[in-house]
Symmetry: C2
Subunit: 310 residues, 2 copies
């Protein structure tokens, strides 16, 4: 069983409009909804790969009920261990302009989580750690949580002997690094914000010195750059993939995590993560991956070892 944590779950709503014009009225021609938040997306991909997976985090209000209903009915293989919260789970609205294909994103802040709710979550989390082989901590912190929340969850996982992957940004990432997670997966912007360097090679190595055992930077269309105790690698798709990048980072996390629990060597983990990520860009539905594309890409991703800095 793999555990994914999404403290700020979401009801992800996509609207299709003929053309988005600020300060006008729009009839939405198509509405789609699904449970979201990074850890929920990671869980969906892990389940599609055949892994047993449990999601935890918070869910509350009518939107939280909707997230749980949809997990129960539409996400086979994903076990719901979300913890109730008094506030309402946030919505995210992606407005797709049918004319240009561009997306405008509106993200609600999420419910304020109180101290008793945070404490209840920590108890559930600690209990779940007793029966899982790995845990991923994903996404932003909802209002009310201490900025060191992830650092605490990482320490608890390490004390339980469960390997932990962290995928977040800003101060939550900075504080989490110091608690020595097994893997962090920043994107280029998050890495630059953390280290102050826009050179990914240098920034990845600098980030690793801050405490993570492995840093896997996702560099968009260029693939992944990984600095681990076994070496430094670049993994890249065979050619530029065109499509919708929403969820590509979450698919990469699912690839890394499944490779971790299957005890694959790093180059194989990176191959899987890049193939899943590119197959997610190929899929027309945001966050899903194209299975045939994935299987084809698995044979065509290139992994190159690089020399580490002195």
């Amino acid at each position: 069983m793999i555990l994914t944590v999404t403290l700020n779950t979401a009801l992800d709503i996509t609207y299709r409009v003929p053309s988005l014009r600020p300060h006008a009225g729009h009839r939405v021609s198509e509405v789609t909804e699904r449970p979201g938040g990074k850890g929920v997306n990671v869980a969906r991909v892990l389940a599609a790969l055949g892994h047993e997976v449990t999601v935890t985090g918070f869910a509350g209000g009518a939107t939280g009920r909707e997230v749980r209903d949809r997990l129960a009915s539409g996400a086979p293989g994903v076990v719901d261990a979300l913890v109730p919260v008094a506030g309402a789970t946030r919505r995210t609205i992606a407005v797709v302009d049918a004319r240009t294909g561009d997306t405008t994103q509106l993200n609600e802040p999420g419910p304020v989580v109180g101290p008793a709710e945070w404490s209840a979550f920590q108890n559930v989390y600690e209990e779940l750690l007793g029966s899982v082989s790995a845990v991923a901590l994903c996404g932003s912190l909802p209002p009310g949580l201490p900025v060191g929340a992830y650092a605490g969850l990482i320490r608890t996982a390490r004390a339980a002997g469960v390997p932990v992957l962290l995928d977040t940004s800003g101060e939550a990432l900075r504080r989490g690094m110091a608690a020595r997670p097994d893997i962090v997966k920043p994107n280029a912007d998050e890495l630059a914000e953390l280290t102050g360097s826009h050179d990914p090679l240098r920034a990845t190595q600098d980030a690793r010195r801050r405490g993570a055992r492995a840093v896997v930077a996702s560099l968009g269309a260029e693939g992944l750059l990984a600095h681990t105790s076994d070496g430094l690698w670049r993994a890249a798709p065979p050619s530029r993939v065109h499509g919708n990048p929403t969820g590509a980072g979450d698919s990469a996390v699912a690839g890394l995590l499944s490779g971790l629990v299957e005890d694959l060597p790093w180059p194989d983990r990176l191959t899987r993560a890049v193939a899943l990520s590119a197959a997610t860009v190929l899929s027309p539905a945001a966050g899903d991956f194209d299975r045939r594309g994935y299987e084809d890409l698995l044979t065509r991703v290139t992994v190159t070892a690089e020399a580490t800095a002195a």
Copy 2:
């Protein structure tokens, strides 16, 4: 008891963002939600005026549950007689740009209503008509309903001896007119679409010849123009009122309907409708009215009789 019908109820959501930029990501700084759809808004104003009011129409899905929960907890004096529907009640999203104050509106289409659901609604409606003094039919038709839906509901109300007000647009208005409602309240655009004339005086008289016993056209800041069996009147606020016009038309409907059940002469009904409408523009919260402004305006609205065309 007054009955308002909202076949396409809504969960009205307002987002405040620092500045809306198409194709960018936005953190929403403030989220407000309330039950909506024109008939629900009319009911809220009627209840605030001290009337007993029942709302019916359709509600379904998680959003429908939220609408009903919020009616129960946040709309004192409004009785919920909404009819269940399998599809989900639509959301409307108003994105307010904090920099300019402008609003961008995104409206979902609403659930598809099936024949059995429409039939169940008609039974509930007919039963409710037995105990009400007036009924208002408000807003757009959800997908799946016949375009003559309002015409049928008007005939049922007339057969039950209940006076009926119709506030809709397009073909639903055109078809509804032929069933001889007691009052229709088009705005200037709806009136022009119905009659082909952009001259409100001429269009109002033309509209009345199509079947309604009284036509009350809402002309924005200029107030109301009413053609009734008792005469032709203009009713205007004392000066231009600045603020948020959302819901002003629904407040005018509430004024007309309360004046009808209290059997006020037409000039007094129009005074109340204009005062409520202007007091709604004055209120900072969309759709609420400013009670002190309303009471002040009641003494300052002017009603002028005009000669009818031959």
